[in-house]
Symmetry: C2
Subunit: 302 residues, 2 copies
């Protein structure tokens, strides 16, 4: 029997299979270039194709399954979202931001190439995401495509991920209370997670209550994800996480752990996961994988 701290073999297999399938779609959507500017595409591919757990794509695929969405479409949306996630990692790693030399155990993009190339690779990945979503292969109904684009653009922009990243930087010199830390993480991580879960509902043209249920699940899951990230930062093995330990403390960042303490932080994460699962009530046992996934996020070691 697997340890309760590990994903069940079924879930683990589903995550690995989805990662492989979505990576194949990403490969197809971002081929190599043989033009003089190929260095840009090399850097985009280096950052986007070089591993990563593809957790956001997993949420897209699973939420799309609830509404029997064509998997080819779901994979395109998953790829677009993952390109946005990868662009944000490239820019976050830059010397002016988190100044991270490694990412997933390899040199970060600006260390492998150079800062200018890394900045441009991030910029081009963001544009690529919207290009993919606007294409009619993503969904035959242009209304659906526009909804996907509007939702992702909001989640990624100033009122979403970029705003959260700004708060994160401000938090290096200002004291934040737990409410502001929660909001920071909701913007920085939660909004893209929410898009991942909502994407299936948008593709499935479902009603607002089902869409909202998935959004609420995602927001609690996103927070739980971040709390466990903070815990992993202080206790995890760098050989598993692929990044140095105690980075947050070194950067003077207020985290859930620094504010609540490790035990309270863990309790908070457990509470959030339970709450996330309750939001899935309308889907009954069809949402079992999403529920298992929430527990996996809580118990992951990397």
């Amino acid at each position: 029997m697997p340890s309760p701290r590990e994903a069940s073999p079924d879930l683990q297999k589903a995550i690995t299979d989805t990662a492989a399938a979505v990576t194949k779609t990403m490969e197809h959507l971002l081929p190599e270039s043989d033009m003089a500017e190929s260095r840009l595409f090399d850097a985009m591919r280096y950052s986007a194709m070089g591993g990563g757990k593809r957790l956001r794509p997993f949420l897209v695929i699973q939420s799309a399954k609830l509404f029997n969405v064509d998997p080819t479409r779901a994979k395109r949306v998953a790829a677009a979202l993952e390109f946005v996630h990868c662009y944000s990692l490239i820019h976050d790693d830059l010397p002016a931001m988190d100044n991270a030399d490694t990412r997933r155990g390899k040199p970060s993009a600006h260390r492998k190439y150079d800062e200018a190339t890394a900045i441009l690779a991030g910029d081009a990945l963001q544009a690529l995401a919207f290009e993919i979503l606007a294409d009619n292969q993503t969904h035959e109904d242009p209304r659906v495509r526009c909804q996907l684009i509007a939702t992702l653009a909001k989640a990624a922009g100033g009122h979403g991920m970029c705003g959260g990243q700004m708060l994160d930087l401000i938090g290096e010199t200002e004291e934040f209370d737990i409410g502001t830390i929660s909001r920071l993480q909701r913007l920085k991580t939660g909004m893209l997670m929410a898009f991942a879960c909502e994407a299936g509902a948008i593709l499935g043209k479902t009603d607002e209550p089902h869409r909202k249920a998935l959004r609420n699940y995602a927001h609690d899951l996103g927070l739980a994800f971040q709390v466990t990230d903070d815990i992993l930062d202080v206790e995890a093995d760098p050989s598993m996480t692929g990044k140095p330990a105690n980075q947050d403390e070194a950067a003077g960042k207020a985290t859930f752990v620094s504010t609540l303490g490790k035990d309270q932080a863990r309790m908070r994460a457990e509470m959030l996961v339970a709450q996330a699962c309750r939001h899935l009530h309308p889907f009954a046992d069809r949402a079992d994988t999403l529920k298992k996934f929430a527990h996996y996020v809580l118990e992951r070691r990397a």
Copy 2:
């Protein structure tokens, strides 16, 4: 009578009026923030609202006029495009790229704020552009919105502006021939110009021949624009251009002037403008403003 080297008073007024109207729309689409992350919005507004000739918006508005498009819609598209242009200027000015301390006679975004804020402000402006285009206020037909988004994303991404910027950086250490310099500029500047002109045709749901005519006009205009930019870089008055002279030479960049010489470069620009105007033949005298604009680009002093 005005000097042939200056825009006619009518054209000058049209440009100024359009700049004011589109800036008002941009102001509406990017309001101040009173949240903890307001610094991000301050930096976005600082870069987007602080002047600029708004030449790309002018092309959107003029091309839209050819098809009697509702000006409110055209202004939204013009604003979205200008936000993309502004994001690219912020990132181009970064120390890792052109390392420019000033922009439009004021401190560049990373000098006014800091590098991290400037990177994020650029990222968020790009997302905002797509959010605006996806909104049904931009056009009631979602098919039109998707076409706008796909065309802008291509023009801004790896096969457009970002690719051109990558070539520009490579050109600092590699020798480019005139063909590669032309391609560099076509990607770096021409693709956004082409979007500006095509946007009116997309909004007006016109046929491919008219769309193509505008695209061809834009590509020749874009190249002419870049050639005159190179000429201005060596001969213009910094108090008019708002940036130091001879920046390209100092950066070791191959330009039309360094490759062709100033006289040949000027002849090439004149040839391109004549060619640009010929593409507008299908619109007869309804395209007179666009023709005048092409001559203005050639003769501008800043």
